[in-house]
């Protein structure tokens, strides 16, 4: 976006014996990047390294042209001198200060006098629609209000890099919906770089311009949300976006999967590919179907779960597949674990894309 290059340019390497984070990361001014991954993937480690709460073992971290951490060159800027703002998972509002003084804390530390700091804090609280709660202590605020005070506190120092650690995880479902919408507004308005750490794909999809999927300390996939949701490259991402995902070798429309099973797809490729299709593309039949579907195979029902208005059926057999069927269809088929069925997927409903 910016001609001057990314605002944040980092290669975060943190070695902790059994666990190693190795994550290249760049963020442009005004860009919101979501770091999405399962628990223990290294998301919080990355955030703490960016904030200076954890030193890098190797790699580098440059923000707004300033080298914050570069072990090879012995460069290190401590947390309190970094142009960052952090919204912590449980907000960590200072319990002995009211909302106004919590927000004024950062500006005060960064050189404003008491009067100016309070004015800046009042402005931010007004922007968050919290003016009438300025004198309240954190324990007198609701979860959604506390979240907005925490966001105001982080933004009041006008950080070059805003870090958010699971900003909506502590909220109930109803509050989360409203707060997510407001958060989206404020993140859009933030001129600096934003990194959102989350395990909730919905937060990532709604709030971020770009996703970085992290598993076991490594980025496994990165790009705009649309690309990632359409073309998952790991089982974790496939589960997040609700797709069946397989890897194999393509010859034209025919793909031979790693375990020998063959699928016919709608796309033509040659070489290593991923094949993905949604559970709704899988049809179940009591007997071997005849007619158009090119992909049919006998399977066994391994499990049945509610999924929205439908039932999601887990199938075992030559490949493991999730299938969505309507309750009516399920009743007709008398679906129960252990029962044999025939599964069918139309080639036109599968997508293949290169794995390399």
């Amino acid at each position: 976006m910016s001609a001057a290059g990314p605002l944040l340019d980092a290669h975060l390497v943190v070695d902790r014996g059994s666990f190693r984070l190795d994550l290249p990361l760049t963020i442009d001014p005004g860009e919101v990047v979501a770091l999405l991954g399962p628990n223990g993937a290294g998301k919080t480690t990355a955030l703490r390294a960016l904030a200076g709460l954890l030193p890098l073992s190797a790699g580098h971290l440059t923000l707004a042209g300033r080298e914050l951490d570069h072990p090879d060159r012995r460069a290190w800027i401590p947390t309190e001198h970094r142009p960052i703002g952090v919204v912590f998972q449980e907000y960590l509002l200072f319990p002995h200060l009211n909302a106004l003084d919590n927000v004024a804390f950062g500006p005060r530390r960064r050189g404003l006098d008491r009067q100016q700091a309070r004015q800046r804090a009042a402005d931010w609280l007004a922007r968050m629609g919290l003016t009438e709660h300025a004198r309240r202590k954190p324990r007198q605020l609701s979860g959604g209000q506390a979240q907005r005070v925490a966001l105001a506190r982080a933004l009041a120092v006008e950080p070059a890099l805003l870090l958010l650690d699971e900003p909506l995880a502590a909220l109930d479902a109803r509050t989360r919906l409203d707060t997510r919408a407001q958060l989206h507004q404020h993140l859009t308005a933030h001129p600096g770089a934003t990194l959102l750490v989350t395990h909730d794909p919905l937060d990532a999809l709604v709030l971020a311009d770009r996703l970085v999927i992290i598993e076991d300390g490594h980025a496994v996939q990165a790009g705009p949300a649309a690309t990632i949701t359409a073309q998952p490259r790991t089982d974790y991402v496939a589960r997040l976006v609700g797709l069946n995902l397989y890897r194999g070798r393509a010859t034209g429309q025919r793909v031979r999967l790693t375990d020998g099973f063959g699928l016919t797809t709608g796309d033509r490729h040659d070489g290593e590919v991923f094949v993905a299709f949604p559970p709704s593309a899988v049809a179940l039949h009591p007997r071997q179907p005849d007619g158009s579907p090119r992909n049919t195979w006998p399977a066994t029902i391994a499990g049945v779960q509610r999924h929205g208005d439908n039932l999601r059926i887990q199938l075992s057999g030559p490949i493991e597949v999730a299938a969505d069927v309507t309750p009516a269809a399920a009743a007709q088929l008398r679906l129960a674990p252990g029962q044999p069925v025939w599964a069918a997927v139309k080639a036109a409903e599968t997508r293949a894309y290169p794995a390399a």
Binding site: A51, E80, I84, F88, L92, F94, F105, R153, V157
Partner: protein, 253 residues
């Protein structure tokens, strides 16, 4: 039953002396006794020295507690053990030790005397030092416990907002552990108020200068039993008030 009887005896053993104190108190002459100049002088001196000793303990003990709770350094366990020594050391031994260091010919005392012409033993300052020596571990242990219990993530949050170590300590950590510091200070003050052994050894027994309440009680015992009882009653009352003020924290409500 095998446990109830000794339990009852134990309770009796703890309570009976206090009851005896109340029974033998010269209630009819109490008002005059309480306003005797000697009693008031000792009371005032005790309050002043205990308060000064507590302030000294706060100024030195809180940073020491922070060091023990927050900073990893080699020999930390040794330092923690050293800090608690005055807790188990007989106060008289503490008084002797203070005398050897701060006495006119002591390690530090001779230097103070030669450089500034300051003599510490048998002065009110000596009383404060003796009380602080004995009472400081109470404060340090209470504050260290509070610091260990405090959530250090608030300190990380302060750092991300631009606060250095000192600002974080004064603006975030200290307010968070304020209840612990207050409880430690009250305990420390109570211990300082009751200090006898180290005081009489290091500071002696000069009315108005070093004769605190416990010292006065001890001396009155030989000449005027009623006066000793009255002074003891005052100390008992102070103890009960302190216990009541710490009720929620120490006796579980």
């Amino acid at each position: 039953m095998a446990l109830l009887l000794p339990a009852a005896l134990g309770l009796l053993f703890l309570v009976l002396p206090l009851v005896g104190l109340l029974v033998r108190a010269p209630w009819s002459t109490l008002p005059q006794r309480l306003t005797e100049p000697a009693v008031l002088t000792a009371l005032r001196l005790s309050m002043q020295t205990a308060t000064l000793a507590t302030l000294l303990c706060l100024a030195l003990g809180v940073p020491l507690a922070w060091l023990l709770a927050r900073v990893r350094f080699p020999g930390r366990r040794v330092v923690r053990a050293l800090v608690t020594v005055p807790l188990v050391l007989p106060p008289v031994v503490g008084g002797v030790a203070l005398l050897l260091v701060f006495g006119r010919r002591g390690l530090v005392g001779s230097w103070l005397d030669a450089t500034f012409g300051i003599t510490l033993p048998f002065t009110t300052t000596a009383v404060v030092l003796a009380e602080a020596f004995v009472a400081m571990p109470f404060l340090i242990i209470a504050v260290e416990g509070a610091l260990r219990g405090a959530d250090t993530r608030y300190e990380e949050a302060a750092a991300t907002l631009g606060a250095g170590r000192w600002t974080t300590f004064t603006h975030v950590t200290l307010p968070l552990v304020a209840p612990g510091v207050a409880a430690g200070a009250v305990l420390c003050w109570a211990r300082a108020l009751g200090e006898f052994g180290a005081t009489i050894t290091f500071a002696g027994n000069y009315p108005g200068r070093t004769q605190t309440m416990p010292v006065a009680v001890y001396l009155a015992l030989e000449t005027d039993l009623e006066a000793a009882i009255v002074l003891s009653l005052i100390l008992l009352t102070v103890s009960v008030v302190i216990l009541a003020s710490l009720r929620d924290r120490w006796t579980g409500g």
